[in-house]
Symmetry: C2
Subunit: 184 residues, 2 copies
DNA sequence: CAAAACATGAACAGATCAGTTAACTTCATC
DNA sequence: GATGAAGTTAACTGATCTGTTCATGTTTTG
């Protein structure tokens, strides 16, 4: 399989898992919707879980790239960028096909301790925190790590409520809290 | 089926769904672990989804009762009770068998729009907000509804991160933010 | 005691699940 | 043109899924 076809397979599988859930999406459907035969899929991924891990790797890359880039487009100081994160989230919530955070859902469906999918989902959140901490330090926060963790809580809460309520206001509610946390 | 047996069935099914997930828990397992034959289960619940809805009703009752009671035990002014919510959450996070919020997980597995399970999960969150708003008004908040929504975001974020990281510190991190939001 | 109501296990649909096997095609490289 | 790697379809495991049927208890109630 060419690199292109492999990437395309993962990209389409991502959409299926994101829309329908992981357990609810069978490998027959993945084969049908990606146009790649099940035999070929299993030649490149030993199990469904390995495919899911590849999907989450792609999602992590895409999501962080997009979020961080959008934060930089919307603002030019570290402090303003941290606030702009919530505007970027709001844009995401408003998109067609927004269905919450893929990592929260993966963690919810594979919650057994030491599960690789669960671990990878948390790794994504840690990478987000690291970036927030970086910006928080540049913004002159007293305790950049603590601030980054607090912003993460607000972000996750906003995503969960936005996904459940099909409303985007959670982003601005979270932003109003974040304003109080950032250094003046 | 007596009211007792029915209640016991729902109670045990709740544990199974909470621990293993909804799609990943089959009705054969529910029958085996509850001691109620599948025939009887389907005489009282037309579908698995109806059983899940009954389970979520029980969870909603139990969770709100327990949380609100614990908040009252831990503090005696409305403001202090809102802060004590995060201590109550921390206690929950530390319990054996803590596996995150059942409603977030239900919503993640049944995310199709207009799904009854999804709707009931969000209804639970709205009832929480209503109670928070009540306390916020009594605490003299300028905008009780806005404050209640902000506290909800912090609570959901803390639960999600606590469940993913198997660490309880999220509760106190959320509490430190909540302190800034409450009126002096 | 008898009738009605309910519960049971076990087998059975019919679909779908993850994953495998086998025979056939495509295609670049020697 | 032969070889071999890599792709394909399609049928096939054997298990599990939700939900039903049925024949046989067991309670409850009149």
């Amino acid at each position: 399989m060419s690199q292109n076809k492999r990437a395309e397979l993962i990209r389409r599988a991502l959409l299926l898992f994101y829309r329908n859930g992981f357990h609810a999406t069978g490998m027959d459907l993945v084969a049908k919707e990606t146009g790649v035969s099940k035999t070929s899929i299993y030649k490149h991924f030993r199990t469904k879980d390995e495919l899911i891990l590849a999907v989450l790797r792609l999602r992590d890359e895409n999501f962080r790239n997009r979020l961080f880039r959008r934060m930089e487009e919307l603002a030019d100081t570290p402090k303003a960028q941290l606030l702009a994160m919530f505007d970027a989230l709001e844009e995401w919530f408003l998109e067609d096909g927004f269905k919450g955070c893929m990592f929260i859902k993966a963690s919810a469906e594979f919650q057994e301790q030491d599960n690789a999918i669960n671990a990878q989902a948390y790794a994504h959140k840690r990478m987000l925190v690291d970036h927030f901490e970086d910006l928080a330090a540049k913004a002159g926060a007293d305790d950049p790590h603590a601030l980054a963790r607090q912003l993460l809580l607000l972000k996750e809460g906003a995503i969960v409520i936005a996904a459940m309520s099909h409303s985007e206001s959670a982003a601005q509610e979270a932003k109003s809290v974040a304003r109080l946390l950032l250094p003046v």
